[in-house]
């Protein structure tokens, strides 16, 4: 022994701290983490964790602020968002809103040559995280997406985000991709690896493989096939009425075939300061899913909506964010699910949920890309 043990411990801890991943990598991963939380919220599996939601800047994903169009003139009060007014009829709005529109989200890029056997199954655009306000994700896999639209197995993921930040952080290897600087992250290879590059100053593209056991050269070869793509992700619904001011948090479409798909639009309430409340306990969260099935299989109160009989499920078990979910089969093999989670002290009433559904306009989903 030549060194006191306390010094050895401190030295080891300092060297271990130096192995920490770069903060930019943590930031870059937050949107994906947020997406997972949002999905969990949609499932009612997370009771105490509100999603990180978007605040101010929204770069490429359109934000719909319904100030002046919704109940309460859009001024959602912190702690008591959008207090419900007992509507005598779900189809009778207390104020006539101007139907908001959500423009299709440009996806920007696609993978020209994904590995053999992989097909595209998921497209997601999320605006919710103000730390990284714009992110579009496309995923290819051999395994099917589950009934919630999640891909848990091996997959190829293409993330496009608007950021002035670099794709470089400790542990990545600088490489050249198409004559431009790029960065290869093989820290977790072969289970997980990625290539990032900046096609322009404001855009960061990341191609990531999970569980495909691709070599560095193989992944770089696939990255070289990534090319601009005019494809867009249109929302599967537009809203004619909402119980207050809400902003769009995510637009998703996923599936395994034209006979098996789900599209989702998620929204968080907006506070009086014009900021999304999705990151606070005070915010309400609204999710509308259209697809070939519904994951909400629990029993509920029969309700008449859209000329059909659906069910309204009240789930107090998700407190402090009670959840109301409306499920209705639309008659052509398509199911509509409207789910509202709201904090204690504020309410989204049953009538509000029915009203949202009645005022929805369903858009024919673009399924042409699923399975390609």
């Amino acid at each position: 022994m030549t060194v006191p043990i306390e010094e050895l411990i401190r030295d080891a801890q300092e060297r271990q701290a130096n192995r920490a991943v770069h903060p930019d990598r943590i930031r870059a991963g937050l949107p994906a983490r947020r997406r997972r939380v949002v999905r969990q919220r949609r499932l009612g599996m997370v009771a105490v964790c509100a999603a990180v939601a978007g605040a101010a800047a929204v770069v490429t994903v359109p934000t719909v602020l319904l100030n002046g169009h919704g109940k309460g003139n859009g001024a959602t009060v912190a702690g008591a968002p959008a207090p419900s007014q007992a509507s005598p009829s779900a189809a009778a709005p207390s104020q006539e809103p101007t139907p908001p529109t959500i423009a299709p989200v440009p996806l920007g890029y696609t993978v020209g040559s994904p590995p053999a056997g992989l097909i595209e199954r998921s497209r997601t655009a999320g605006s919710g995280n103000s730390l990284n306000p714009s992110l579009q994700t496309r995923m290819w896999s051999a395994e099917p997406v589950d009934e919630y639209g999640d891909l848990k197995g091996s997959r190829l993921v293409l993330d496009v985000q608007q950021t002035t930040g670099s794709g470089q952080y400790s542990g990545v290897t600088p490489i050249t991709l198409g004559g431009k600087p790029a960065w290869y992250d093989g820290i977790d290879a072969p289970d997980k690896s990625s290539v990032s590059w900046k096609p322009d100053a404001g855009t960061l593209v990341t191609l990531e493989q999970h569980g495909l056991n691709l070599s560095r050269n193989a992944l770089i070869g696939i990255a070289e096939t990534v090319r601009p793509d005019p494809a867009t992700l249109p929302p599967v619904v537009t809203f004619g009425w909402l119980p207050g001011a809400f902003s769009v948090e995510n637009v998703d479409l996923s599936g395994n075939s034209t006979g098996s798909w789900h599209g989702d639009v998620g929204l968080s309430s907006v506070g009086p300061d014009g900021q999304s409340q999705g990151r606070s306990y005070f915010g309400a969260y609204l999710s509308v899913t259209v697809g070939t099935s519904s994951t909400e299989t629990g029993s509920g109160e029969p309700v008449s909506v859209l000329g059909r009989t659906g069910k309204l499920i009240t789930d107090p078990a998700t407190a402090p964010e009670p959840r109301l979910t409306l499920v209705v089969e639309l008659g052509d093999g398509t199911w509509l699910t409207v789910s509202a989670m709201y904090p204690v002290g504020g309410t989204v009433s049953k009538d509000d949920v029915l009203h949202v559904a009645e005022a929805l306009q369903l858009a024919p989903p673009d399924l042409s890309w699923i399975g390609r």
């Binding site: 411990i9 801890q13 060297r15 991943v21």
Partner: protein, 173 residues
């Protein structure tokens, strides 16, 4: 301080802290992201606290220890290669470098709570009372974890001198 300002100012420190607590950079990344998502959800409340950063660090600690409980894991795998890269032995100082290498591996093999305690004690320079407050346990429990951790480390590195002084906050023995 807004959440964004907190992240901009403290994320680097936070992830280094998480890496020392978990002894695993990838787990630290995972835990830090989870904690940030949770912290952002309740930031209006955290920001009003006297020490928001301390609260977030407590969240990291809790996340790590609960993660450990969920997975019932006891050891953190530590690749040899990164250690070698970090502690390449110098020709004229083989002894100290060997000890430093050994210490990296020994800390990795400590039970999670003991590793967390020595992280708080030596990396964060917290007193045993402060550690007890963070962990939600009695001071004597902290001292037990600390003494067992030090005993393990000393036992694996014979002839290492006893600590004869504490940090600026208190004494450990």
């Amino acid at each position: 301080m807004t959440f964004e300002e907190f992240v901009s100012a403290r994320l680097g420190t936070l992830v280094r802290y998480a890496t020392v607590v978990t002894w695993d950079p990838h787990l630290a990344e995972d835990i830090t992201q989870n904690v940030l998502v949770k912290a952002s959800a309740r930031w209006s409340r955290i920001a009003r606290m006297s020490a928001p950063e301390l609260y977030v660090k407590r969240m990291v600690l809790n996340e790590f220890l609960s993660w450990r409980r969920r997975r019932a894991a006891h050891l953190v795998p530590l690749d040899r290669a990164p250690i070698d890269a970090l502690a390449a032995p110098a020709p004229d100082a083989i002894g100290p470098y060997d000890e430093r290498d050994a210490m990296l591996r020994l800390i990795a093999a400590l039970p999670p709570k003991q590793r967390a305690v020595i992280a708080l004690r030596f990396y964060e320079d917290l007193s045993t009372e402060q550690i007890a407050d963070l962990l939600g346990c009695r001071t004597v429990t902290v001292r037990t974890h600390l003494s067992r951790a030090l005993a393990t480390l000393r036992g694996a590195m014979p002839a290492v001198p006893m600590i004869t002084h504490g940090s600026s906050h208190d004494r450990t023995n």
